[in-house]
């Protein structure tokens, strides 16, 4: 008798990987756990980019812009307004999402490589705006309104009037996040932070898995593979593209909170174009549109170089070469999404609804 095993091979592998991930801090020192934290952060970011690039097929290379907006929202609210760090997370997401909505609306219809260039321009503009303290300029302008309204002495108005991105120096002293009074310091005890990031990563994987399987995810991937056919079958292509953009941006903004809380100091140099390229590479190399592939990509692109510390100098060079070779030999990435299977013998007769 051929008995089907209770668990498939893939399920066993995933369970082992998850277990290894959870117990790994026990065997690692503070620094090594910090590397895992970075890998986790990049994995979350890459998963949010994956919604745009992998499912939606939009060449978006400005993801660091959303990430930066989220991180700066948290830093400003935490340092200058004294808000608890984790509380700023929804606001960071909302602001990044709003920014994406405003920016993406006019450019969403651009063809692939043009969109790429525009998003590169966008991330540069955001970085220049941070360096030139655009927030400070807006704050001054808002303050002049307060003076006109005669409310400049209210405590909140005073705080708003002095909000700033700190220019090229960045913002120091973001409070470490705390849960129910338990402070999670990402520098002193990286293991605590590891579990915070892992929890967020788990939520991310779960939600994006649901998204991938939903009607929404199917429509998105349909329009990715053939936009004209999708539009012909009644998919609102620009609406779906725009919403994918916003979902990715909201998630990247929320990850920005985790990043700011982790290193407690942010500056424009953390959000350069190279950051966007790294995220892009994670998704493309790992396997765009496939969650395990993207996570594997984060390990390879962010984690692996830490193992070869002495080759740090050659890191980017090797990446470039790998990128070219991958595109020539296996353009769909190391772990591309498998086409969905509908095994007929597993479906009960009653279930068939076709």
């Amino acid at each position: 008798m051929n008995k089907t095993p209770r668990f498939s091979k893939l399920q066993i592998i995933y369970t082992l990987v998850i277990l290894a991930w959870i117990i790994s801090p026990v065997f690692l020192d503070n620094y090594q756990t910090d590397v895992l934290n970075t890998v986790g952060l990049y994995a979350i970011l890459a998963l949010s980019l994956n919604v745009i690039l992998g499912y939606g097929g939009m060449f978006h290379m400005g993801h660091a812009a959303f990430y930066a907006i989220g991180a700066y929202t948290t830093a400003i609210l935490s340092v200058q307004f004294g808000m608890p760090t984790l509380w700023t997370m929804p606001l960071a997401g909302v602001l990044a999402g709003l920014f994406a909505l405003v920016v993406a609306r006019p450019i969403i219809h651009l063809r692939g490589d043009y969109l790429l260039i525009v998003t590169i321009g966008m991330v540069e503009i955001v970085r220049i705006a941070i360096i030139n303290d655009a927030v400070g300029s807006v704050a001054k302008w808002v303050n002049s309104i307060f003076i006109a309204a005669g409310i400049q002495n209210w405590a909140l108005c005073k705080k708003i009037a002095t909000a700033t991105t700190g220019g090229p120096n960045g913002i120091f002293g973001v409070a470490p996040p705390s849960i129910f009074g338990f402070e999670i310091n990402g520098i002193v005890n990286t293991t605590h932070y590891f579990f915070l990031i892992s929890a967020f990563l788990a939520v991310t994987i779960f939600l994006f898995y649901l998204l991938e399987r939903s009607r929404y995810g199917r429509a998105l991937r349909y329009l990715c593979s053939d936009e004209i056919a999708a539009e012909g079958s009644g998919v609102n292509t620009s609406g779906y593209k725009l919403s994918a953009f916003v979902i990715g941006a909201v998630w990247a903004g929320m990850t920005g909170t985790l990043f700011a809380g982790k290193i407690t100091f942010i500056s424009p140099s953390s959000f350069t174009f190279a950051e966007s390229v790294t995220l892009f590479m994670i998704v493309i190399l790992g396997g765009s549109g496939y969650i395990p592939g993207v996570i594997l990509g984060a390990f390879l692109v962010v984690g692996l170089p830490e193992v070869f510390q002495e080759f740090q100098k050659y890191r980017m060079l090797v990446f470039g070469i790998v990128l070219v070779i991958m595109m020539v030999l296996k353009p769909q990435g190391i772990m591309p999404p498998k086409p969905p299977r509908y095994p007929i013998h597993k479906i009960d007769e009653k279930e068939v609804t076709l």
Partner: protein, 301 residues
């Protein structure tokens, strides 16, 4: 008035550089419909090779200014052109029939490879061109100052552009390039060796970019391994502005962008200079994606 004029000539000088680099983007895009992201780094390679050759052979000391710089430009044109051909053979040729994204990512990969190779060879710190190679006199015409440096830079780029335009429009090989740009298959049926045309494109474009690199080095005196990216992006903006794939468009776009940038830096804000350029790029892509001189294309952008 005088400040305006200063900014105008400055903008035209730097615009000539953008135009030269933009031509490389436009030529490649015209034939292959590929954005050659590594082009900006070819420009950097030109600047660094130029510096090494200049100091290794002390060209301008031995041969005088005109001959020395002329020989230097000639050498750089040949060398960077060959690098361009190698780039195409290694990274783009295997991807001719693949989807667009693959070629774009491969181009990005090559861009990373080039810029990091330059950093590893020449070091991460900025390098300085020998001082005082370009004449520093200022001519006064109609009571307005013309620094000779800027005139030289502008005329050099204009000469190169006119030569390229004449080559493309008047010669048989130029006609073959134009034919390949319109329809590769039809061109092949007419007996044009399209592969050779692509090789030629990948020689001319990087050669012009490399020459622009040397000119930037001579004009500004300082070069850095990361500069290719910003110059490349701005030149790409120029190419889009004029209408990508359109050779006169790239020239006009380059000069226009240079002027917009220097006037913007002078009258709006110096710190926001680069942001102004990118804002112009985004605006043009939204409002008129075919560029100022671009023809209407049937394909929806």
């Amino acid at each position: 008035m005088e400040q305006f004029f200063q900014q105008l000539t400055n903008g035209l000088a730097i615009g000539g550089i953008y135009a030269l680099i933009a031509l490389g983007y436009t030529l490649v895009y015209g034939v292959l419909k590929l954005i050659n992201f590594a082009h900006g780094d070819l420009f950097t390679i030109g600047a660094f090779l130029g510096l090494s050759l200049l100091t290794a052979f002390s060209l301008t000391d031995k041969l005088g200014f005109a001959l020395g710089v002329g020989l230097l430009l000639l050498m750089i044109v040949c060398l960077v052109g060959i690098v361009g051909i190698l780039l195409d053979q290694a990274a783009y040729k295997p991807l001719r029939t693949s989807p667009r994204l693959s070629a774009v990512v491969s181009a990005l990969g090559m861009s990373i490879v080039f810029s990091n190779a330059i950093m590893l060879v020449f070091g991460p710190n900025p390098q300085v061109y020998p001082h005082g190679i370009l004449p520093s006199q200022v001519l006064t015409i109609f009571g307005l100052p013309f620094p000779v440096k800027r005139l030289l830079l502008l005329s050099a780029s204009v000469v190169l552009m006119v030569a390229l335009y004449a080559f493309i429009q008047k010669t048989t090989i130029g006609a073959a390039i134009r034919a390949a740009a319109i329809d590769q298959d039809a061109a092949r049926l007419m007996g044009i060796n399209v592969n050779l045309v692509i090789m030629l494109i990948f020689f001319i474009g990087p050669a012009l970019g490399g020459a622009a690199g040397v000119m930037v080095g001579l004009y500004y005196g300082q070069i850095k391994w990361t500069m290719g990216w910003l110059y490349g992006l701005k030149a790409f903006t120029a190419a889009i502005m004029g209408g990508i794939g359109n050779i006169p468009g790239a020239m006009v776009g380059g000069l226009l962008l240079g002027v917009i940038e220097s006037l913007g830096a002078a009258y709006i804000s110096m710190a926001w200079k680069d942001a102004i350029t990118f804002a112009v790029l985004i605006l043009i892509l939204i409002v008129r994606p075919t560029g100022l001189l671009g023809e209407r294309v049937a394909e929806k952008i």
